[in-house]
Amino acid sequence: MKFGIITFPGSNCDYDAYRAVVEAIGQEAVYLWHKDHDLQGSEVIVLPGGFSYGDYLRAGAIARFSPIMREVVAHAGRGAPVVAICNGFQIACEAGLLPGALLRNESLKFVCAPIGLRVENTSTLFTNGYHENQVITLPIAHGDGRYSADDETLDRLEGEGQVAFRYVPNRNRPGDSCNPNGSMRDIAGIVNEGGNVLGMMPHPERAVDPLLGAPDGLPLFESILHRVHA
């Protein structure tokens, strides 16, 4: 399966995503520059983390207008999988692929730490490799991760099973507050109505190798393979 990894000026997790796809799950990956107009046959798109366009105006606001995003939005519209991580999540919200917005962390601090998450829905394209209610640890690294939406949207996300991941207390650091950024209803990751676009602030692509700690991000990439090959 071919993964297309979008690189914007300021992306910095594109290589981690590439490595997760090529080395951890043994699939093909290609970098797609933000000025490209062609997804080069990619089936799965990854919008990686970083600081596209220096986070000018708002995180993700400018990247949304990159030429490649027109192709990504059309691809998502056809039901193709899109994994939007961290800055990618911010871009996906700005582009209207996902509801809501990501605002400045409540603490006003950039938070870089392993964080506890509960998999809220294991039937999605991206989470079917996890056990029900499984608690995992993934790294986060962001300053603008406070998920916000109106109550009606939040109710709909919860009612339709679109909340994929929620922040929970980390078993390794039980004293820490579990919600690192003030996200509404502790939401860390969501899927769109069609279930083919995932947005999440934590970094699964940085947790695919036991050498770097618990490889809790690996089942996410494997989930995509299971479902698409099924």
């Binding site: 708002r58 917005a101 006003l108 406070r146």
Partner: protein, 85 residues
Amino acid sequence: MSRYKIAVQVVPRRGLLDPQGKAVADALHSLGFSNVASVYVGRHMVLEVEAADEGTAREQTNRMCAQLLANPVTEDFEIASVLSA
């Protein structure tokens, strides 16, 4: 065509938590300005726009705000002033 200097204000929507505004309000309180009820920190942008008339310039600026300068999910915007440049 005339040139207009248009000032736009974008502020976090009332009711949404604005931690920056809250931090600034707390600092003002500690300076003794206890009468400050709330602070919202937003952005002030100045655009120079060529347009046939002021109405057209305003209408275009409103569309710019709705499409890019403000996030309709979390922010409100208003045109603070329009001057002939």
